[in-house]
């Protein structure tokens, strides 16, 4: 692969991802409305799709305000960290057999590392705002994300044990005969739950819970800085959905009547829609309920999953 090709792939992936993340503004509003028996935004452009443009313009022209009591540099850095860490997570995802930015040997661990760096955006954003609600949101976000990172990593270990590799292309190819959702259903479910908590989406949007913490860690943000948090959240949804598709649903593999990238995007999009459906249907748990479920239910389950997977693998080996 030449350098030019590589640069083209990077730029192409970046372009597509940012467009998807922006388009999700429309998708989410429209689908959420549909599930609430409304129509949603349908005025600007065909099916209202230009609301993306309108929203972006609005964010750009809003006053970009830094509160005088805030820690200026950290306040500016925090939104950049979200987008950067999530975009770095996309580096290891195989979109097709050839389109992959970097097929690292430690691909899966790299993904986990990047998602663990994403915590900083919430913590720093909440702390730098110098606002008690933001600080509370940051505290909640930090403990929630650190806790659920553990289950997220452990839930993927079953797949890693069955594949014998952290490389994502290997993991996809290992699902040629059977998707890992069949052999690792528990791991898949826990990974998805942990993924929701990791992207702090509803129902686990405890760090930004509007009804109790106004907007939590991004209460003081406005303009495009808030927009970065916004885009970061949608990119996070896309990342978790793409990981879900890659790890448990065969990635780009599928019957030959559609090209691999189409299969990949179909699977990813299905999970994105499921994220939105969850937002439409489930209420937010209390903070202690979330932590209790994590440490007292999910952790034992995920350890059990690893144990049973290892035992079965050894037994099959003879």
């Amino acid at each position: 692969m030449t350098v030019l090709q590589h640069v083209l792939i990077v730029l192409g992936v970046l372009f597509v991802l940012l467009n998807i993340a922006a388009g999700l503004i429309w998708v989410e509003r429209r689908m959420l409305a549909m599930w609430q028996e409304r129509l949603g935004p349908n005025r600007a452009g065909p099916f209202g799709i230009l609301i993306v443009l309108a929203d972006t313009l609005k964010l750009f022209f809003k006053e970009d305000w830094i509160p005088p009591f805030a820690d200026k540099w950290i306040f500016i850095t925090a939104p950049a960290i979200v987008v950067a860490s999530v975009l770095m997570g996309f580096v290891i995802i195989p979109f097709t057999p050839t389109i992959i930015v970097a097929d690292l040997n430690v691909g899966l661990l790299f993904f986990l590392a990047m998602s663990s760096l994403g915590v900083y955006s919430i913590v720093l954003g909440g702390w730098a705002s110098n606002n008690k609600y933001s600080l509370l949101g940051a505290l909640r976000g930090a403990s929630q994300m650190i806790a659920y990172e553990v289950f997220m990593g452990l839930s993927l270990m079953g797949v890693v044990m069955m594949t014998g590799s952290f490389k994502l292309s290997d993991i996809v190819m290992a699902q040629k005969n059977m998707w890992f959702i069949v052999t690792q259903p528990l791991g898949a479910i826990i990974f998805f739950i942990a993924g929701i908590a990791e992207t702090h989406r509803l129902p686990f949007d405890i760090p930004e819970a509007e009804s109790e913490l106004i907007a939590g860690y991004h209460a003081e943000y406005s303009g495009m800085k808030f927009g970065m948090f916004f885009i970061g959240e949608y990119l996070g949804i896309t990342l978790i959905s793409a990981m879900m598709a890659t790890m448990f649903f065969g990635g780009y593999l599928g019957p030959a009547f559609l090209p691999p990238w189409a299969w990949f995007f179909l699977k990813t999009f299905a999970f994105i829609l499921f994220f939105i459906l969850l937002r439409a249907s489930l209420p937010r748990p209390r903070y202690d309920q979330l932590m209790e479920t994590g440490w007292k239910v999910l952790l034992p389950l995920v350890l059990l999953n690893i144990l049973v997977t290892g035992a079965v693998l050894l037994w099959l080996k003879g």
């Binding site: 409305a33 549909m34 599930w35 609430q36 028996e37 409304r38 129509l39 349908n42 459906l277 969850l278 439409a280 249907s281 489930l282």
Partner: protein, 171 residues
């Protein structure tokens, strides 16, 4: 856990239900006849103003958005010299309509009165008066009232008896 899955499934089914949204500018909202919207001043069947300038509507208004000044014409018929409603204050509670003894002030099913300038929401009498009898057709206050104000002579009403001649001794 099962209840959560059931909730998700039931929410998913809502995708296929009929949407309740009314796409407003193209599709109008159906308003009931007694809907409380824009305030108007109605006229009686003869085409004269019903309002007698009694100030009851202004007194009843909780946000004090009605201002008027009563006056009389040469027949002794009362009418408002000016009648002003500030719709940027009005909360469309309908108390003025309830207070009105002559069915003059009425709320009609119309809400499309958006303006770019706040001052344009102050409606004067000529903006408020409509050529209609509103919800009470055929009602004419001065036809049933006891005083003569150019509409009928004293005692000339349908349910009235002729005035007593106080200079006569006959019963």
């Amino acid at each position: 856990m099962f209840s959560h899955l059931r909730t998700i499934w039931l929410t998913f089914l809502h995708l296929f239900k009929k949407k309740v949204t009314i796409e407003y500018p193209e599709e109008k909202v159906k308003l009931r006849p007694r809907w409380r919207g824009r305030i108007v001043l109605t006229k009686d069947p003869d085409g004269d103003e019903r309002c007698v300038g009694c100030y009851l509507c202004a007194a009843a208004c909780p946000v004090d958005c009605i201002a008027l000044q009563a006056t009389e014409d040469e027949n002794g018929r009362r009418y408002p010299e000016f009648f002003r409603i500030n719709f940027s204050r009005c909360i469309f509670c309908g108390y003025c309509e309830e207070a009105c003894p002559t069915y003059a002030i009425q709320l009609i099913p119309d809400f499309e009165m958006g303006e770019y300038k706040r001052q344009n929401l102050v409606f004067e009498k000529e903006d408020l008066l409509i050529d209609s009898e509103g919800k009470y057709p055929g009602y004419n206050y001065y036809k049933v009232a006891g005083i003569a104000a150019g509409v009928k002579a004293k005692g000339g009403g349908e349910t009235e008896e002729a005035p007593v001649d106080i200079h006569s001794l006959l019963p």
